[in-house]
């Protein structure tokens, strides 16, 4: 008897643009578009028993509410799935994969995130980019990325990861790679979980966590992100600040935050994180973290703040190594 294909759920939350046979862009803007979209890639059904699920369209903002929906779907389909492929917008792909990493800790099924090189609902402004990709690579990369993602989703992985181009990278190590137009992401320490060279090769020595799965279905908290430039003062309206549950500040590694800014932080009385990859000087009333990627620190903060109702200490959560995010 022929071996049945494994069940893989493809969760669609933007980033779905492909080129059809006529070279026109096709994206999933609603659940009704899925059939036509999938018909362009018949090979996906050979790789696995796939079931697409629509979450959000190309013009919807990918953020906490979309992530919450994705988490809910993954939790619900967990029993019947062999793995999950999450397709989301390229500009939010790192954050999406990190949100899933924090919301679905020690999750036993593989979650792989990927995207098209182009996203959005309007393409007039992207005509040149699309034509360039079409001529150079024959498409917008999603077809190749999906083929790889579906195959990887059938293998065990320790945590959510991104597959894009030839690289498979754990979410907590991903950074944007501006030097390459095939691999738009790289790993901060140049170590990868796998690569696509002659077929897909996932490392055999990955470490798996045996702890029980923790699923956080809370909406991740909104955080104000500031990129501090020494000697440039901050001006914030109280009303603006009240919209946020916390403040994330990327600081300079080699000089302390100015006294006036330290006073502002104390006055806000909001949970505050000071971040720099290399090192951060301590400031009273703020949590200083380093040795993780900036996106990881931001999403971790959003997750930690969403845990506040459970009476967990924010500072403790921020300094604990939750998903292996501290790299040294």
């Amino acid at each position: 008897m022929a071996k049945a294909n494994k069940k893989i759920f493809i969760i669609l939350a933007g980033g779905t643009c492909i080129l059809n046979e006529q070279g026109h862009i096709l994206a999933v803007q609603s659940a009704e578009d899925i059939k036509d979209w999938l018909n362009q890639m018949p090979e996906l059904n050979i790789l696995a028993d796939i079931e697409p699920i629509f979450v959000s369209s190309e013009d919807e903002l990918v953020g906490p509410s979309v992530w919450q929906k994705i988490v809910a779907i993954i939790s619900e389909k967990n029993a019947e799935a062999a793995g999950f492929v999450v397709v989301s917008k390229i500009d939010q792909l790192i954050n999406t994969s990190l949100a899933l990493s924090f919301a679905l800790q020690n999750f036993k099924k593989t979650i792989v995130c990927t995207a098209s090189q182009v996203s959005g609902a309007s393409f007039i402004d992207k005509k040149e980019v699309v034509n360039n990709l079409k001529n150079k690579y024959g498409g917008l990369s999603l077809r190749a990325n999906l083929i790889n993602a579906i195959q990887i989703a059938q293998q065990p992985l320790p945590a959510p990861a991104i597959i894009f181009g030839t690289r498979l990278i754990p979410a907590y190590k991903v950074i944007a790679d501006l030097a390459s137009d095939t691999n738009l992401f790289s790993s901060i320490d140049n170590e990868y979980w796998g690569k696509v060279d002659f077929g897909i090769n996932v490392k055999s020595d990955l470490k798996y966590n045996k702890q029980t799965t923790k699923i956080n279905t809370n909406l991740l908290a909104d955080v104000l992100v500031i990129n501090d430039i020494p000697s440039v003062p901050w001006f914030f309206d109280k009303k603006v600040l009240s919209k946020y549950k916390g403040v994330f500040i990327r600081v300079s590694p080699y000089q302390s935050l100015e006294k006036s800014k330290q006073d502002q932080i104390a006055k806000w009385k909001l949970p505050t994180v000071l971040y720099n990859y290399h090192l951060t000087s301590p400031v009273k009333g703020a949590v200083s973290i380093s040795n993780c990627t900036k996106n990881t620190a931001i999403i971790k903060m959003m997750w930690a703040l969403s845990q506040a109702s459970k009476n967990k200490n924010f500072e403790n959560l921020m300094t604990q190594n939750i998903i292996g995010e501290f790299l040294n």
Partner: protein, 227 residues
């Protein structure tokens, strides 16, 4: 030893190394690795069978000369299945077609070893390290037809995939397609077509022509600097 025989040995050894290298990357869940490893293993067998058929002064040469035919069936069969799965499958082969392909392969693997059926006569020139086989022409044509059907199916599969693929896959398919076509053209001409007319002087050209595809795969595997 002549330069031709040294080339046969080198081609055989390189193919064997590649077979082991690709095999060691995992074949259980990876059909691309599985069929490429088999392909290079049969390339190795083919090169060594031609080498021993040419150089052995004893009667054993005939065994090796016959082995070249099962090896070439192994090559074209693995190549065909490789083209089905590399870099991804776009179609499932119907079971019935699979059975037909495999049954015919078994048939063509066995017949060289049945006396006076496929090979009806032979001559060996020990000093020139040369041999000539005389075939049952109908069976040889049938063998050739089977071989070329699989060759064309392989090239067709890869061209079809090249057309629908994008990004990294597109480049990989193009490089391999060129290497495979060169190897198949040289192999088919010097080891199949002109042998039909009794010319066995150039059989040594076939195996070294498979090296290009080894180099392409070697490049694909090793050119990236990431850990």
């Amino acid at each position: 030893m002549s330069i031709q025989n040294i080339l046969l040995l080198v081609a055989g050894v390189i193919n064997l190394i590649m077979s082991v290298l690709v095999f060691s990357r995992g074949i259980k869940h990876n059909k691309v690795n599985r069929y490429f490893s088999l392909l290079t293993f049969f390339n190795f067998l083919w090169a060594f069978s031609l080498f021993f058929a040419q150089v052995l002064p004893t009667d054993d040469w005939l065994f090796w000369a016959k082995l070249a035919y099962p090896s070439s069936i192994g090559i074209v069969l693995s190549l065909f299945y490789f083209s089905v799965y590399f870099p991804f499958a776009i179609k499932k082969i119907p079971k019935i077609l699979n059975y037909i392909i495999l049954l015919l392969a078994v048939f063509f693997i066995i017949i060289p070893y049945i006396n006076n059926l496929f090979i009806i006569d032979y001559s060996k020139y020990i000093e020139q390290a040369l041999y000539i086989l005389y075939y049952n022409k109908s069976l040889y044509i049938a063998f050739g037809v089977y071989f070329f059907i699989l060759v064309f199916a392989t090239v067709f599969n890869l061209i079809k995939k090249y057309k629908v693929s994008e990004n990294i896959f597109r480049k990989q398919i193009l490089f391999l397609l060129i290497a495979i076509i060169i190897g198949l053209m040289a192999g088919s001409y010097f080891d199949l077509i002109i042998c039909y007319f009794g010319n066995f002087k150039h059989v040594w050209i076939g195996p070294p022509s498979t090296l290009l595809m080894n180099f392409v795969v070697f490049y694909l595997i090793l050119h990236r600097k990431e850990k």
